[in-house]
């Protein structure tokens, strides 16, 4: 869906982006991760031509972006900014309707789409007539996303979409975004400096440093098969949590104790991550009375914190070997 081929951006004071290539499949979310100044935002802005590359080709949806007028290109790509960038003189509804109006949708269609998006993003209908300044930070960011999704673009560019929020709001909105069906179908390029966010939202993660790609791959690849010291160092602080979050129950299934028979266990889906499983178990109201289990190919296995941790260690050893 998106291909970058040997793209560079040269500024007067040096190279911001240095000969990078990657591609994003349709429906995939790729996260550009890195410290500030590593060139990740520049890379994103080159895709909707807010910045023109010095060298290299960018192909979106099979077409070289240089061959289309930038305004038309941008109308087909959703864009979410860190500081939401909502028009302060437009109401929420008017903000959402910006791209549909540029595309000359009729009023009814726009209104229907606005209502739909407000609902999906858990914004009450009364918000529609408010101005951005009257909203909370989390609401503003949701409206920003709704605006980017309004014309249903196949591609979404998100530049630190949650960067301006406090950690609590951030985590809850991240969960919401993760569960939003509209986003699941989109091809998304997301820029962040937050490791946690990258691992939670990205199908694949592209770690950048000084304008170059250090490693591109899945969460587990970065965690368990880092290409160099920089990658390990970058994720060191949150490594344990990230690892637990990157592994699903079905992956450690074979390391769990023997299958059991029974009916009173609470079942967790096999796609549950180890982190979520531990959270669920430790937050149980009656830890002594409740039991948890998961089923893979009709076999049920009980899960406890102790056995999960043992399975996790075994799994890690198995993939390193």
């Amino acid at each position: 869906m998106i291909q970058l081929q040997n793209v560079s951006k040269q500024y007067a004071n040096g190279k911001a982006v240095d000969d990078i290539s990657f591609s994003i499949e349709e429906g995939e979310t790729l996260v550009l991760l890195g410290t500030s100044g590593c060139g990740k935002t520049t890379t994103l802005r080159m895709i909707n031509r807010l910045t023109e590359p010095t060298k290299g080709d960018i192909i979106v949806n099979g077409q070289d972006i240089k061959t289309q007028p930038p305004e038309l290109l941008r109308r087909g790509i959703g864009y979410v900014l860190q500081h939401h960038g909502l028009f302060p003189h437009y109401t929420v509804a008017e903000n959402i309707a910006i791209v549909p109006n540029l595309l000359k949708w009729n009023k009814e269609k726009t209104a229907r789409r606005t209502d739909e998006l407000l609902q999906k993003l858990q914004l009450s209908a009364t918000v529609a007539n408010l101005y951005p300044a009257q909203l909370s930070g989390g609401q503003q960011q949701r409206v920003g996303l709704a605006r980017a999704l309004a014309a249903n673009p196949p591609v979404l560019l998100m530049d630190e979409p949650l960067g301006a929020l406090d950690p609590v709001t951030r985590a809850s909105i991240r969960k919401e975004f993760n569960n939003l069906d509209e986003l699941k179908r989109k091809t998304i390029l997301l820029v962040t400096h937050d490791v946690q966010e990258a691992f939670e939202l990205g199908d694949r993660i592209c770690l950048m440093n000084e304008g170059k790609i250090v490693q591109i791959g899945t969460a587990q690849e970065l965690l368990f098969n880092p290409s160099d010291e920089f990658v390990s160092r970058f994720i060191k602080e949150q490594r344990f949590q990230l690892e637990l979050e990157s592994i699903q129950l079905k992956e450690v299934w074979r390391f769990l104790p023997k299958a059991i028979e029974g009916t009173d266990e609470k079942l967790l889906v096999p796609e549950t991550t180890l982190w979520e499983a531990i959270e669920t178990i430790s937050q149980a109201k009656h830890p002594e009375a409740e039991r948890f289990a998961t089923t893979v190919s009709n076999q049920k296995k009980q899960i406890e914190i102790g056995s999960l941790m043992a399975a996790y260690t075994n799994y890690k050893n198995s993939i390193k070997a």
């Binding site: 909707n48 807010l50 930038p70 305004e71 038309l72 290109l73 941008r74 109308r75 087909g76 864009y79 900014l81 860190q82 500081h83 939401h84 960038g85 909502l86 028009f87 302060p88 003189h89 910006i98 791209v99 540029l102 101005y131 605006r147 560019l157």
Partner: protein
């Protein structure tokens, strides 16, 4: 105080037609120029917000325009645009530039960059970004600039009266020249009220919330065009002859009022400052002007004085006035000073003034050459019998006379001379004389009568038409009251006069003010 208010009120009532006309002209003048300024300055402000490298230059130029004194800016406009509405509108427009350009620039720059970035990223064209995002968001700041410009323009527009563009300045400057407080207030109070009112009005528009920015975008131009239409361009009134009179002349009974009552002269008039009046007449923009009969510009601009055949202008014969004490002390002084008596008529004085004021020759040189031609020049004797202290007011004619007297005293007596030129106006010279700080200075009979002695009105009326009677009266009263002697008149009469271009006067065969009246009535 109450009396003052009463008479101000009655003045306003008497002059209500004129006041209304001036107020409307003032509003129109302010807003036409404001409208033009907006049309030019806002696009310019937008442009420099795009091309930042030009912002310093453009704002610098607008800033320089702002620092030019208003009257000078109006003056610069005369050679380019003549007199009347055009130069005034252009000058006011230039004055309004800076606040509007600067605020447009600032307003657009302070729009949050993430908002413009979002607009661009969503696929808005640069026009759409400008009109849908930047201008609406910059509107409160731009309006603040327009508001500043409006208040500046209401103030500066009073000066338009100096170049025949009308407005409330006519009353203000007329009042100042005539020392008529009611007249000043009748102009100044409405001008101040206009400034306050428009400031208030624009403040309200500015406070409309951001949503209504779109409404103000539309309503402001409509209001401006509406207000501008108050200004009926004077050029649209057709007439054969146009007179330009100073604000002072307009309000004097021995000026325009006398022309109307004694000559029944019915001529179309505009108010204008004497600084530009002569040139405007020379450039065919005015046909008749009020001037001073020995002014050098009369010659410089080839004008001719119309004969005051019904003598409405009081005589202003020049003569030295000297403290009696010093005349007694040095008996040889008076004959020396009287050598000049009768030697200089109006046209000679005009010529001498022309050489000093227009050709910039030094007064000493002009004075010496004149005395040599008249065979009055004698080498200085370098005596040391005593000192005569001479003063003068600050204009060329007085400097020339002072130099002549200086040469005459040094050549004909053993006295030496000490000069104190540039003593400001009549009041300062006369006070210096009575306080024994100077011994003499050249004065004019009309000034002595009307400014210094200020006798009751019926005394003035009895003698004002007769130059000998005025001279006799001031001579007698000065000796009695101040022990100051009027010596013999020099000969010329530096009085008010009506003037026309020599060529036009000749073609139309107009020599007197009565001729002018006949001509106007017959056409």
């Amino acid at each position: 105080m109450n009396e003052q208010q009463q008479s101000l009120w009655s003045f306003i009532q008497q002059q209500s037609d004129k006041l209304l006309e001036q107020t409307l002209a003032h509003i129109g003048l302010t807003f036409i120029s404001l409208l033009l300024s907006i049309i030019i300055a806002i696009p310019l402000g937008i442009w420099i917000s795009r091309k930042k490298q030009w912002s310093g230059t453009i704002l610098g130029i607008a800033g320089v325009l702002q620092t030019i004194p208003s009257i000078a800016l109006l003056g610069f406009m005369i050679p380019l645009l003549g007199i009347g509405a055009k130069p005034a509108i252009v000058a006011l427009m230039l004055y309004a530039f800076l606040p509007i350009i600067r605020n447009t620039f600032t307003g657009i720059n302070q729009v949050n960059s993430s908002v413009t970035d979002a607009a661009k990223g969503m696929g808005m064209t640069s026009y759409q970004i400008l009109f849908k995002v930047e201008l609406p968001l910059a509107m409160p700041v731009i309006l603040a600039g327009i508001r500043t410009a409006t208040v500046i323009n209401v103030g500066v527009a009073t000066l338009a009266a100096y170049i025949a563009a009308g407005g409330l300045g006519e009353f203000i400057f007329g009042g100042i020249a005539l020392n008529n407080t009611n007249m000043i207030l009748a102009g100044a109070i409405p001008a101040a009220l206009l400034a306050i009112f428009f400031d208030f009005l624009l403040a309200r528009v500015q406070q409309l919330n951001i949503k209504n920015a779109r409404i103000s975008l539309i309503s402001i131009p409509i209001i401006l065009v509406g207000l501008s239409s108050f200004y009926l361009l004077p050029a649209t009134i057709k007439g054969h002859m146009l007179a330009g009179f100073t604000p002072e002349f307009m309000g004097r009974s021995d000026g325009y009022l006398g022309l109307k009552s004694k000559y029944k002269l019915n001529i179309r008039t505009v108010v204008i400052s004497d600084a530009v009046m002569y040139k405007a007449a020379f450039e065919n923009q005015l046909d008749v002007i009020s001037g001073y009969s020995t002014d050098g510009r009369l010659k410089a601009y080839d004008l001719v004085v119309l004969d005051d055949d019904k003598t409405i202008f009081p005589p202003y014969y020049a003569a030295p006035i000297v403290r009696q004490e010093i005349l007694t002390k040095y008996a040889e002084l008076e004959p020396a000073l009287n050598l000049l008596s009768g030697r200089i008529n109006d046209s000679i004085m005009t010529d001498l003034n022309y050489r000093v004021d227009h050709l910039k020759e030094p007064p000493e040189k002009v004075a010496r050459e004149f005395l040599i031609r008249q065979n009055l020049y004698k080498e200085p004797r370098n005596g040391n019998k005593g000192i005569v202290r001479m003063g003068s007011k600050i204009f060329g004619e007085q400097y020339i006379l002072l130099q002549m007297y200086s040469i005459l005293i040094k050549g004909n007596t053993d006295l030496t001379v000490e000069t104190k030129t540039g003593l400001g106006g009549t009041k300062i010279c006369f006070d210096a004389l009575t306080n024994n700080q100077i011994d003499m200075y050249p004065e004019y009979t009309g000034t002595g009568l009307l400014v210094i002695l200020q006798p009751v009105n019926n005394v003035v009326q009895q003698i004002i038409g007769n130059k000998e009677k005025v001279y006799e009266y001031v001579q007698k009263e000065f000796i009695n009251q101040y022990k100051i002697k009027w010596l013999k008149p020099i000969g010329f009469n530096n009085a008010y006069a009506l003037m026309m271009r020599k060529k036009q006067a000749g073609e139309l065969n107009i020599r007197t003010i009565s001729d002018l009246k006949m001509f106007i009535d017959n056409n």
